[in-house]
Symmetry: C2
Subunit: 305 residues, 2 copies
């Protein structure tokens, strides 16, 4: 059987203390069979997004170790930041990459969720493809009210966790564990300090309020820089491309005479997602990914194995 | 020693007869250690561009076989097409890719040129980094007057070949063999049938008439489609990016109210060249190639070997 390969993108509620950040990622560096693709801490969000790739077993081992560090070092009662969160280990999505189905990733999420709760005591919610209740497919439903709100509401039957007692871990809150398609995190920074504009544009862009399908977005302030940000997740990049989201934001921003200052692709991105946007802007006809030398060499190296 | 890897991009003066095209590329498919990355025949140009990658020895073996087919099947006296050419095998550039220096590729070009002449009788000119005379660094100098002009002028001392007697092969002409950096072939098709506009824009864009450095360009007619084309070679993509060339052409075309209908990236392209243009159009700040999953996996697979 061909080697199974998954991506995993755990999000930790720590974007400011370098020593904690490094302690959390250390197990991903050290575990054979688990590749630390990327990790990015954001001080405004006070959050770190890690990208891993590898075979399911070593990825899970490294995750347990890293999660244990995060649970012991992060106190949600003292945490503040611009991004919604419910726990020290906020979300753990498993993503199929190669030779593994979505169904197998759902099983992986469930198996890992039970083990994680046993070892850390943190209650677990299953989301997206791994959701056990239809309404919990959406992360927003699970994270409603964030840590502070969930602390009060967790005893309500509709907010009971999927694994564990209806009580938050005293410092590490709760964790959402799921399975999903590859997600692109994409931020568009606007040249204004008016958060209202970012929120208004985010609303126009996101699927939930009638914008582009498969797109989630919120408006955030980047206070230190005096800018605002439309922070976007494209949850199915094959159905809605980066360029379409960006051009829609550029168009809306014109209404206020606000420029796009820069964009950020956060974490990992599949080559196909970038190439589709390149092809749009450059009007390339009949361009094929196999014209990219590195993609051809990857294909050939893969075949030789 | 790490495996040496070169690219080689032979251009053959045949873009119309499928059976000849297939006979020329067959040796590249069959030879182990030589990867046929891409081959594209263009009927308007009446020319085929092949991209190979591999270790120097098997690439040379396959080249000799393919060249022998081209020399026997293509008659320059009956050849017509929109692209300048002097021979059935028009140019053979060797390009360093990995673990090999430009100097080693120059040696390779000289060694191959002498062998090619011995086996086919076709006279050889060395160009770019492999040039033995400074003025022959430029392919335009070698190809001046094309096959028809060179036939008359080859006896002049300044046009004597570097290898062989001062006489063209009766049907296969001459061949330019060189070493160079990676070259991007990029065409911009314009929505007009006025060849004068394509020529005017090509002149504004190319380095030789004061345009962008490291850029060559000519204007061509795409008669069947009723379009014209600015056909571009970017000879050092690290110094001049695709987007800069395209935007300059879009700007110049506006003077005549002519739209860019589409662009074509011809043959292979390094990921970095595309990513630089993506970053421009999408205003991505701090984007790093190692955020592209496939490039990271290629790096990791390479390390394991």
């Amino acid at each position: 059987m061909a080697k199974q390969l998954i991506e995993c993108v755990p999000n930790f509620s720590e974007g400011r203390r370098p020593e904690v950040i490094e302690a959390i990622v250390a197990p991903f560096r050290e575990r054979k069979g688990c590749a630390l693709l990327d990790y990015r801490a954001d001080a405004d969000h006070n959050r770190m997004v890690v990208s891993l790739a590898g075979e399911p077993a070593p990825v899970q081992e490294a995750l347990i170790q890293a999660a244990t560090v995060a649970v012991s070092r992060i106190d949600l009662n003292r945490h503040e930041g611009g991004h919604p969160r419910i726990g020290a280990v906020d979300v753990i999505p498993f993503v199929p990459l190669r030779n593994i189905t979505m169904e197998a990733c759902v099983d992986l999420a469930h198996e890992f969720g039970r083990r994680y709760h046993l070892e850390t005591g943190v209650p677990v919610y299953f989301y997206e493809e791994a959701a056990l209740m239809p309404e919990r497919r959406r992360l927003e439903v699970i994270r409603k009210g964030q840590y502070e709100g969930l602390k009060k509401d967790i005893q309500k039957p509709e907010r009971h966790p999927d694994v564990g007692e209806p009580e938050l871990h005293p410092t590490a809150g709760a964790t959402a564990i799921g399975a999903r398609k590859f997600l692109i995190a994409f931020n568009v920074n606007l040249g204004t300090d008016d958060i209202g504009i970012a929120r208004e544009i985010a609303k126009k862009v996101r699927a939930s309020s009638g914008g582009l399908g498969h797109v989630k977005s919120i408006g955030l302030a980047l206070k230190k820089r005096g800018l605002v940000q439309v922070s976007i997740n494209i949850v199915d990049y094959e159905k809605n491309a980066l360029y379409r989201v960006l051009e829609l934001i550029r168009m809306e921003a014109k209404r206020w005479g606000v420029p796009v200052v820069e964009t950020e692709i956060y974490g990992m991105v599949p080559a196909a997602a970038l190439l589709e946007s390149t092809a749009y802007y450059m009007q390339t006809a009949d361009f094929d990914a196999s014209q990219v030398i590195e993609l051809r060499l990857l294909e050939m190296l893969g075949d030789e194995k």
